[in-house]
């Protein structure tokens, strides 16, 4: 009997093609490729349609009355408005977020109910719809705080100065919205620090606060930076929260004070897309504006991801 025949007799099947695995592997690979394809197509369409209208002039001039004219339109005031509101936002969200993360990581007792409630609140904040933040900004910051400020400053019959949409309230609303982003990123970087370092510091007679400021925070800075950048990237693209809290379609001047309204890249895209008298004429401007916005959010996101990858790699090396 040939060896092969005897093996067959013994019951060994010839290795066949594993159809299920092929199918499964193929489908999942296709899904992954599909998602990447979606990303690439969206980016490609926007770049192809927007790049021709993108120019130095586009970025640096004001639109004035020529918003619909492809040769004269410019997004400078929108860029300023968007940048101003996210910078203002970081002034509020980064300190609060970092301090909260420090509390959760260094001071709070892990199992205490209060700690769990704080974490639950952070998680919930992350899930609140952006339009609800807009309502909150309107009801709380503009209505309550702004209204109270007006009454205190000028009496009950006051002409609203603080109690109306403005860049301060829009920034504060966004700060509340992006708080979870900063907290999570900071906590991640705090967790990555070897506990031995804290022990060493305390054993040398440092107080907890000294340990945090002299040893822990300096090491956590890259992570904090990542969190800040992610928050900025997220906030730059959000429109729903600023719909009622300060965005305007046309302002004759750049925002000069905290109570001024402002123009905004995303808001402009929204209004132009939905209320343009001649959509074909404005398409090139739209694409170019979207391209500018995308370049802004993507480059920020990219930088944040790079920093985070660098941190993760050094973390793996240290342990």
């Amino acid at each position: 009997m040939t060896p092969r025949a005897s093996l067959r007799e013994a019951g060994f099947r010839r290795a066949g093609v594993d159809h299920a695995s092929l199918l499964g592997g193929g489908v999942t690979l296709a899904a992954t490729a599909g998602i990447l394809a979606i990303l690439i197509v969206i980016l490609a369409v926007i770049v192809v349609n927007g790049a021709p209208s993108l120019s130095w002039r586009f970025i640096t001039t004001s639109t004035a009355r020529d918003m619909f004219d492809p040769d004269k339109a410019g997004v400078f005031p929108m860029l300023v408005g968007t940048s101003a509101r996210v910078i203002l936002m970081t002034l509020f969200v980064v300190p609060v977020g970092v301090i909260t993360a420090i509390y959760l990581s260094e001071y709070a007792r892990a199992a205490s109910p209060l700690t769990r409630i704080i974490r639950g609140a952070v998680n919930n904040l992350a899930g609140v719809p952006s339009i609800v933040f807009g309502l909150f900004g309107l009801g709380f910051f503009i209505g309550f705080i702004g209204g109270t400020l007006d009454e205190l400053a000028q009496g009950p019959a006051a002409e609203p100065r603080w109690g109306k949409p403005g860049i301060l309230w829009a920034s504060l609303t966004l700060a509340v919205m992006t708080l979870p982003v900063v907290i999570v990123a900071t906590e991640e970087s705090l967790r990555a620090i070897a506990p031995g370092l804290r022990e060493a510091s305390l054993a040398l007679g440092a107080t907890k606060f000294e340990t945090v400021t002299r040893v822990v925070l300096p090491q956590a800075l890259p992570g904090i930076l990542t969190g800040g950048i992610l928050a900025v990237s997220r906030a730059a693209g959000e429109v729903a929260p600023i719909l009622f809290t300060g965005a305007a379609y046309y302002m004759a001047t750049l925002p000069g004070s905290l109570t001024d309204q402002f123009m905004d890249l995303g808001y402009h895209v929204f209004v132009l897309s939905t209320q343009s008298p001649n959509i074909d004429q404005t398409k090139p401007i739209l694409f170019a504006t979207v391209l500018v916005l995308l370049l802004l959010t993507f480059s920020l996101n990219f930088v944040a991801i790079l920093i985070r990858a660098r941190i993760r790699r050094s973390q793996r090396a240290a342990h």
């Binding site: 007792r109 892990a110 199992a111 070897a194 031995g196 370092l197 022990e199 060493a200 510091s201 305390l202 054993a203 040398l204 007679g205 440092a206 107080t207 000294e210 002299r214 040893v215 090491q219």
Partner: protein, 270 residues
Amino acid sequence: MTSVRPTPAAPAAPDTAALAPVLIRAQGVDLWYGAAHALRSITLDIREKLVTAFIGPSGCGKSTFLRCLNRMNDLIDGVRITGRLEVGGVDIQAPTVDVIELRKRVGMVFQKSNPFPKSIFDNVAYGLRLQGGHSRDALAERVEKSLRAAAIWDEVKDRLQTSALSLSGGQQQRLCIARAIANEPDILLMDEPASALDPIATARIEDLILELKQRYTIVIVTHNMQQATRISDQTAFFYLGQLVEFDSTAKIFTNPGKKQTEDYVTGRFG
């Protein structure tokens, strides 16, 4: 493995050791991690300017007791300590005690060296900067003094501003020792300081300890019994959270009083 160094001078003779004043006194110290009873009624005296070794199998309370001496167990949730623990005559468990000050007087070196990701200079100067009020020159002087005392000055004097993480394992540990003694503590607690090091680095640390004992009271936890015989004057044998025997090193290793001690030091278990 036989030692390649000449045997050091014999530790202080029993009666001389007994005359040294007591610096740390424990009376009936118990410790619980939640429900687990980790230390059972520990009573011992640690004397000034001697090296006292804690030996015993893993997990039997040596490190736990060591960490009581500078209140580092406070960092762990759910720890409860009863009994009296005196350092320099002061009950360090009392609520009136300034724990931060205590840790400046009672320094600690850890099993795994943990230099800060800062420069060598900044590492050693850390404790001094906490105190504040030192001029740049005074700091440099103290840093040099500590690095010399830790027998690492010659190796790092030209690169004080480089990162401490660029040093080898043995060097990092000596740096941590320099960092601890920069505070000029009275007592130095060492938790298996050489267990992560190769034999040559270990030998250097042991030599260092014998030098340091002229100025500091040293308590060292070790699972290496030969190390204990080489460098310590007194030895405490811990087993399952209890202090089984505490006496001069010579006696513990040549003529132990308890059978359990004899079994451990002769390697019958552990």
